[in-house]
Symmetry: C2
């Protein structure tokens, strides 16, 4: 009998990455194309489907394709459509799973990138065997996926898990969503840049600094050199993230919270202040029993692995 393979497709504003993933979470193929080269989603779907079909030909003695999992901004699990994604050039509602199903004749499933990565963590990462956990991506924004009772929480409309848009400070920083004080305006790559610039405002730009070059990696390197404002920026970010995560625990009491993405790679610079603030702000009954952990998914594989995991979760 042939073994099963799942395709994983991650559609981003700039790149679309896709690949084939086996039941052990091994990526057998990985390719990237430019999303923006395809003004029509149909054309991107046709291109990706052709690549997947051709790739399956070389594996056809051993494997068969079981399904296609897709991670995409504003991807809705219930209707299989991308719904008004501000970061994509395609407008309106794009029935993505229907498009892939008609091209490849296998089941297609869609969700947003953070949910997909959360399922990847559950199937192949640090959340294996966990019944309840949260997954936080600290990228340009703050994305999240919440698993309770071994099931992804999609909510009644497929849009659950927007912890980045919890209002932390009603009169706080302006958020891209139109409201003020959302968590992601503080705790994200963008947020820490704002914080660093505010902290160093009096001496800004510091000698040798070019405003355009200040990103979270720059601040990370500054912090490693012992720069006071960079260290303070990490401490401040962790302080707010720890409070937000302590509040989050009051909803689903997870066994662990996984941090993923650029900022999470800063190690103790972000984990220490986050965990300190988390434990300080936790309700007594939750103290000292909920782990905040780095994701075990590799930065470059997470998107494909997560998307393919939608299929592996369905099969299991």
């Amino acid at each position: 009998m042939k073994q099963k393979l799942a395709a994983g497709i991650d559609i981003g504003g700039t790149n679309t990455t896709f690949g084939l993933v086996n039941a052990a979470g091994k990526i057998l193929l990985k390719e990237t194309i430019f999303t923006e080269h395809f003004p029509l989603p149909e054309d991107l779907v046709a291109e990706v489907a052709t690549h997947i079909e051709n790739a399956m030909l070389q594996f056809s003695n051993e494997y068969e394709l079981s399904g296609v999992g897709i991670g995409a901004p504003n991807g809705n699990y219930f209707n299989g459509s991308i719904v008004f994604a501000p970061n994509l050039k395609w407008k309106g509602i794009i029935p993505l799973t229907a498009m892939f199903e008609s091209k490849l004749n296998v089941k297609a499933l869609l969700t947003n990138d953070a949910n997909a990565a959360a399922i990847g963590e559950m199937m192949f990462g640090g959340a294996k065997g966990m019944k309840d956990f949260m997954f936080i991506t600290l990228g340009t924004g703050l994305g999240s996926g919440i698993v309770a009772n071994k099931e992804m929480i999609y909510g009644h409309d497929g849009f659950a898990g927007e912890i980045g848009h919890v209002i932390m400070f009603p009169e706080g920083r302006q958020c891209g969503c139109g409201r003020k004080g959302c968590l992601e305006t503080y705790c994200s790559a963008t947020g820490i840049v704002t914080t660093y610039k505010q902290l160093s405002a009096t001496s800004y730009p510091e000698p040798g600094e070019d405003e355009q070059l200040i990103n979270s990696k720059f601040i990370y390197e500054k912090a490693l050199e012992g720069n006071k404002h960079a260290l303070e920026a990490f401490a401040y970010t962790g302080d707010i993230l720890g409070l937000a995560l302590a509040n989050s625990v009051a909803y689903t009491s997870p066994e662990a919270i996984f941090l993923f993405g650029g900022l999470a790679l800063a190690g103790n610079l972000i984990f220490k202040p986050t965990i300190d603030s988390f434990e300080h702000n936790l309700l007594n009954i939750y103290k000292n029993k909920i782990k905040i952990l780095p994701s075990l998914l590799k930065e470059n594989d997470a998107a494909i692995l997560g998307a393919a995991s939608l299929i592996w979760k369905e099969i299991n």
Copy 2:
């Protein structure tokens, strides 16, 4: 074949109420005893079990007992024990389901009172057929139960759903939990009393007022009379509750949020400001599609019905 009955037991600091509930949610028997008359939990269990056994005798031609559901403060679903409940005289860990099972030889299930009522709302109230909803009790404190994917979220430790202890204002009101600014210090019967007293501080006590008599019902009646401070107290409470519920939606995107308990009985005095603030503070994708509704459970029946629903949910 005999029909099934479930016993529902609600253990509170003052009273323990129990009854027998049929599959349609009809309460066939309801009794109340004083919790404090039983210095040992074993004695209360024996008393309640005897009452239930005797009651079952009169129904024995038609019904058989399928199980015992229990709602109690700090009741833990996973281990069936009351765990260090500050509002009960019994200290430490009380293995309540084991006690009832050995007395009555049927399955016993335990959770806290808010979770039990949430399951009651799902089985017999306004949440029938809903996959995702939240249930909020506005009593002395603020309790909550969250259902996602048709399952109660107990969390990894059985203590999920403590929305009353989300920190709204890190430097806010002192909470009984030892921290500051918890939601329930603002949005509860206790919280609105504090708000009313603060608002009327300059003229406090107002002519004819006795400080001891100021409770949420008093403020409700004052508001109906058009009292400015009472009306402001409801508006302020709804303002904060609406923000907290809007943030809550970002976790599980429920179809509806049910409000239960004394304050929820104030009708539009509390619902209007809550819904206004809720819609104002919601992330765009959630606006105008999530209902805030009064619970359909009767105030006096909810505790027994909710507790018994633990068994009915298990059977279904």
